[in-house]
C-alpha cells in the first residue's frame, strides 16, 4: 500500500495528463467516426457542431431545454431539463473540475498552443491582479446570458417583445469552440458569417472574433479562454460537493509560492490561503501541477471520496524538479 502511495506521489502527473488529453481529444473530436458517443450533457466543451464529436456539451442541451415557454417549462417537459441537469451533475461530481484539466478538448487545444509557444521560447504573459479580478466575472455574465436569452426568445419578459430567434443559441454562436472544433474534421462551414439578419450577423461575427482571440490569446496566455468559460462558472457552483477534491493543509505551507508559479490559470490563493482546506477556486482546472510543485509533505492533497490519491511530497518534488532530471538543456535558443 505504501509502495503504491510513494509511486503515485512521485509520479509525473503532467506527463500522464498529456497522454490522457491526447486520448480524450481524439475520443471527443473524432469519436463519431467510429460510432462512439460517450454521452450527452457532459461537463466539457465536446462540440456537436463538429459532426464527428464523441459526446456533447451540457451547455447546448441547457440552451435548448430552456428555449421553451414558461408553461412547458413547468410541465412534464421540464423533467427533460432536470434529467439533463442530473446527468451533467453525475458526470461532474466524479471528476470535479478535473474535466477541464484532463478531458475538455478545448482546454487541451490551449495546452497544445502553450506547448508550441514554449517550444519556440516566447515568454507568456500574466494578468495583473486587479485585471484578473475583473476578468473573472465575465464567465458568470456569459452563464447568465445563456440562461436568460433562450427564455427571452420563447417568452416575453415584463411585457417586452420576444427576442429574435436569430440570437439562438446565445452562447454557442459566440463560442470559439463552435468555429474551431469543426475545423479538425475539415469542416470550414462554421467560418461563415451569417448576413441574414442583424442578430445573426452580430453573433456570427462575434464568433469569428472569439475564435481569432482564442488562438492569439492562448498563445500569449496559458489557458486564456478558460477564464471566460461559462461551463467553468456553472461547474464551480457545484464544486464544493463533488467527490474529487484538492485539499490544502495550511499549517504545513511555507508560502514558498511554487504552486502559484506553476499554476496555468494563475490562482494566487493556492499559495497565500493557509486557512481554507478546499482550495478549488472557480478558475481551477485541477491539473494538479501545484501538487507536483509542492515540496512540503502532505501540504496539498488530491482526494477521491476522502481517500488521498496524490499527495505533495518532498521526494516527489525533488524527483520532478531536482538535479537528476533526464532532459538536460543542450543549447541556448538566443
Amino acid at each position: 500500500m505504501n509502495k503504491i502511495k510513494t509511486y503515485l506521489n512521485n509520479a509525473d502527473v503532467s506527463r500522464f495528463r498529456f497522454w490522457v488529453q491526447i486520448f480524450t481529444f481524439v475520443l471527443f473530436v473524432y469519436g463519431g467516426y467510429w460510432g462512439i458517443t460517450i454521452a450527452q450533457n457532459l461537463p466539457i466543451f465536446a462540440c456537436p457542431y463538429d459532426h464527428a464529436t464523441g459526446g456533447t456539451c451540457f451547455l447546448i442541451s441547457l440552451q435548448h431545454q430552456l428555449h421553451t415557454t414558461w408553461d412547458t417549462l413547468f410541465s412534464v417537459r421540464g423533467f427533460a431539463l432536470l434529467t439533463a441537469f442530473g446527468t451533467f451533475l453525475l458526470f461532474f461530481f466524479f471528476l470535479n473540475k478535473a474535466w477541464c484539466g484532463f478531458i475538455c478538448p478545448v482546454g487541451t487545444l490551449q495546452d497544445w498552443i502553450t506547448k508550441f509557444r514554449k517550444s519556440i521560447g516566447v515568454r507568456f504573459s500574466r494578468y495583473e491582479e486587479t485585471t484578473f479580478k475583473y476578468l473573472k466575472v465575465i464567465k458568470y455574465l456569459f452563464l447568465i446570458w445563456l440562461l436568460i436569452v433562450p427564455l427571452a426568445i420563447a417568452n416575453s419578459f415584463f411585457g417586452l417583445p420576444h427576442m429574435s430567434h436569430d440570437w439562438f443559441p446565445p452562447f454557442c454562436t459566440i463560442c470559439p469552440a463552435r468555429v474551431i472544433m469543426p475545423l479538425f474534421t475539415g469542416d470550414v462551414s462554421q467560418l461563415a458569417i451569417d448576413f441574414s439578419s442583424t442578430p445573426a450577423l452580430i453573433m456570427t461575427t462575434l464568433g469569428i472574433l472569439a475564435a481569432a482571440l482564442f488562438i492569439v490569446g492562448s498563445f500569449v496566455k496559458k489557458r486564456f479562454f478558460c477564464l471566460f468559460c461559462p461551463m467553468s462558472a456553472l461547474q464551480f457552483l457545484f464544486s464544493k460537493i463533488a467527490f474529487l477534491r484538492l485539499n490544502k493543509y495550511g499549517d504545513k505551507c511555507t508560502k514558498c509560492g511554487n504552486c502559484y508559479r506553476v499554476c496555468d490559470v494563475g490562482i494566487k490563493e493556492i499559495a497565500d490561503d493557509v486557512i481554507s482546506k478546499n482550495i478549488v477556486k472557480d478558475d481551477c482546472m485541477m491539473c494538479f501541477k501545484c501538487v507536483e510543485a509542492c515540496p512540503e509533505d502532505g501540504c496539498l492533497e488530491v482526494a477521491m471520496f476522502k481517500i488521498p490519491i496524490l499527495t505533495a511530497s518532498e521526494n516527489g518534488f525533488f524527483k520532478r524538479y531536482g538535479a537528476d532530471e533526464q532532459k538536460e538543456i543542450t543549447d541556448d535558443p538566443k
Binding site: K118, G121, R123, F124, E128, E129, G250, D251, K252, C253, T254, K255, C256, G257, N258, C259, Y260, R261, V262, K268, A271, D272, V274, K289, A293, P295, E314, F317, F318, Y321, G322, A323, E325, I329, T330, D331, D332, P333, K334
Partner: protein, 445 residues
C-alpha cells in the same frame, strides 16, 4: 543603466587605495585583529570538537573548513570571480550562473565586531559590525577578493551599512532593493524587477553572460544542495544523532564553500548519520530536552548559545535562523525553463517564504515556528536576540505570546559577540534546561 555608471565610478575610485587603509594604524589593526580572530576561531572550534565526544567522522571536513578564519588556509575558488553578499535574500543561483563564487559575509567574529564598533554607532547589531570589520580588514574567507558586495535592504542597519562605509571598504556595494513587505502582489512584482536588474549587474561585473543553460544548471545544483540539506533536516526530527552546534557549522560552511564540494560532504554526513540511526547510536537520551533555536542568527565563531545549551544537557534539534533553515529550506519550482520564467521564480523563492522580521506583517514566522515545534517535537524554544538587533527583539514578545498559547516554553536571551555575558547566560540557560528536564520527567510519568 544607472548602476553601471556607479560601478565604473567605484572601480575608478578604488584604484588609488582608499585612504583609511593606507595608514600605519590600519596595518597594526589588521595584524592584531587577524591574531584575535585566529585565537577566537581556535577557541570556538576547540569547544565544538573537544567538548563533545563521538562527533561524526564526516564532520572533520566542516571543522577544517571553519578553521579558515584562523587565517591558515583560505578557500580556493579555482580562479573564479567572487561576489560577496550580506544577507539571505540574494539569489545565489544568479551568481553561480555567471560562473562566479558566491560568498556570504555575515560575520560572527568578535574580533571583527570590535573593528566595526569603531565606525558604527554603539548600539549597532554585532553581526553588522562584525561584517564591516571583516570587509574593512580584508579578512575574506576565500583567496580571491570579491568584485562587489551585494547588500539587500533588509534591516535598517544593513540597509545603511553600504552608504556609510564606502570610505572603509574598497569594493563597490550593490544595493539590492528588497521590499519591506512580501504579501502584496505589488511587492512581488517590484522584487522580480529588482532581481532582473540584479542579474544584469552580475553579468556586467563578471563579464559572463547568464545563459538559459547555465542558470538552469545553477538552479538545479542549489536544489541538489537543498535536497541534501532537507535530508539532514529530516534526520534531526527523530532521536538526536547530531548536535546542533555541528548543524550550524554545516550551514555556515554553505556561506563560503564551493557548492559541489559542500553537497558531496553533506551527502557523506547524511549517510553516516543514517547509519547511526540504524545502529541506534544516539548522542543523547530521551530525557534530554529538545530545543529549537530562533532569533538573531548564530554564525561561527559565535556559537556561544548553542554550545552552552548543549553542554548543559539540551539538544538543539532545529534552528529557525537565516543562517540555517531559512537559507536552505525553501525551493524553487520553474514552470518554463527559460530566463523569462527562471528569474521571476528565483525572485519569488527569495521573497515569499522568507520569515525575516524585516517584513511586516510576518505572520509566516509564527506559523513556521509552530509547525517546526510540532515536526521536531520541541520541548523548549531559545530566542536569541543580539543587542542592537531591533527587529528580532521587537518580535520576541509577539512570538513569546504565540508560543505560550501553544504551551511551549521559551527563553528569551539578549546577547552579543563578547564573551563577557558568558556567566550570566550560562546560569539562565542552566535553569531553563533543568526546568525543561523536570517538565519532561513529569510528563513522562
Amino acid at each position: 543603466m544607472d548602476f553601471l555608471k556607479d560601478t565604473e565610478l567605484m572601480s575608478k575610485r578604488r584604484l588609488p587605495m582608499i585612504q583609511s587603509k593606507t595608514t600605519d594604524r590600519y596595518q597594526r589593526m589588521k595584524k592584531t585583529s587577524s591574531i584575535h580572530l585566529a585565537m577566537e576561531t581556535k577557541k570556538s572550534l576547540k569547544e565544538i570538537v573537544e567538548d563533545f565526544p563521538n562527533n561524526p567522522e564526516s564532520m572533520d571536513y566542516f571543522y577544517k573548513l571553519a578553521s579558515v578564519f584562523a587565517g591558515e588556509e583560505k578557500i580556493n575558488t579555482n580562479g573564479k570571480k567572487v561576489i560577496a553578499t550580506t544577507c539571505v535574500q540574494v539569489p545565489t543561483e544568479l551568481i553561480l550562473a555567471a560562473d562566479a563564487h558566491p560568498l556570504r559575509l555575515c560575520g560572527g567574529a568578535y574580533a571583527t565586531d570590535q573593528i566595526g564598533s569603531e565606525y558604527l554607532p554603539a548600539k549597532t547589531c554585532p553581526l553588522v559590525k562584525s561584517t564591516l570589520g571583516l570587509m574593512h580588514l580584508d579578512l575574506y574567507q576565500v583567496d580571491e577578493k570579491p568584485l562587489a558586495v551585494v547588500n539587500p535592504t533588509t534591516c535598517d542597519q544593513k540597509r545603511k551599512l553600504g552608504e556609510v562605509s564606502t570610505d572603509l571598504v574598497d569594493i563597490p556595494y550593490y544595493t539590492l532593493e528588497l521590499p519591506p513587505t512580501k504579501d502584496s502582489e505589488e511587492a512581488r512584482i517590484y522584487w522580480q524587477k529588482v532581481v532582473k536588474k540584479f542579474s544584469k549587474y552580475i553579468e556586467h561585473i563578471t563579464g559572463n553572460k547568464i545563459t538559459r543553460g547555465k542558470l538552469k544548471k545553477s538552479i538545479k545544483s542549489v536544489l541538489e544542495a537543498q535536497r541534501e540539506y532537507r535530508k539532514f533536516y529530516n534526520l534531526r526530527k527523530g532521536k538526536p544523532v547530531i548536535w546542533g552546534k555541528d548543524a550550524i557549522l554545516i550551514t555556515n560552511a554553505y556561506f563560503y564553500d564551493n557548492i559541489e564540494r559542500w553537497i558531496s560532504n553533506v551527502k557523506q554526513l547524511n549517510a553516516e548519520l543514517e547509519e547511526k540511526v540504524e545502529a541506534e547510536n544516539y548522542i543523547a537520551n530521551n530525557r534530554s530536552p529538545r530545543i529549537l533555536l530562533t532569533g538573531s542568527p548564530s554564525i561561527f565563531p559565535n556559537l556561544k548559545i548553542p554550545i552552552l545549551t548543549e553542554t548543559l544537557g539540551g539538544v538543539i534539534v532545529a534552528e529557525e535562523f537565516c543562517s540555517t533553515s531559512r537559507m536552505l529550506y525553501d525551493t524553487v519550482a520553474v514552470d518554463e525553463w527559460y530566463i523569462y520564467d527562471m528569474i521571476p521564480a528565483l525572485a519569488d523563492r527569495y521573497l515569499k517564504p522568507c520569515t525575516c522580521p524585516n517584513f511586516t506583517p510576518n505572520k509566516d514566522r509564527e506559523r513556521r515556528l509552530l509547525e517546526m515545534i510540532k515536526e521536531f517535537s520541541i520541548d523548549g524554544v531559545i530566542y536569541q536576540s543580539f543587542a542592537g538587533c531591533q527587529l528580532f527583539d521587537m518580535e520576541s514578545r509577539k512570538i513569546g505570546k504565540v508560543l505560550e498559547k501553544n504551551g511551549t516554553a521559551m527563553l528569551s536571551i539578549e546577547t552579543d559577540y563578547s564573551p563577557e555575558d558568558h556567566g550570566q547566560i550560562s546560569t539562565r540557560l542552566e535553569a531553563f534546561v533543568e526546568s525543561l528536564k523536570t517538565r519532561k520527567h513529569i510528563e513522562r510519568k
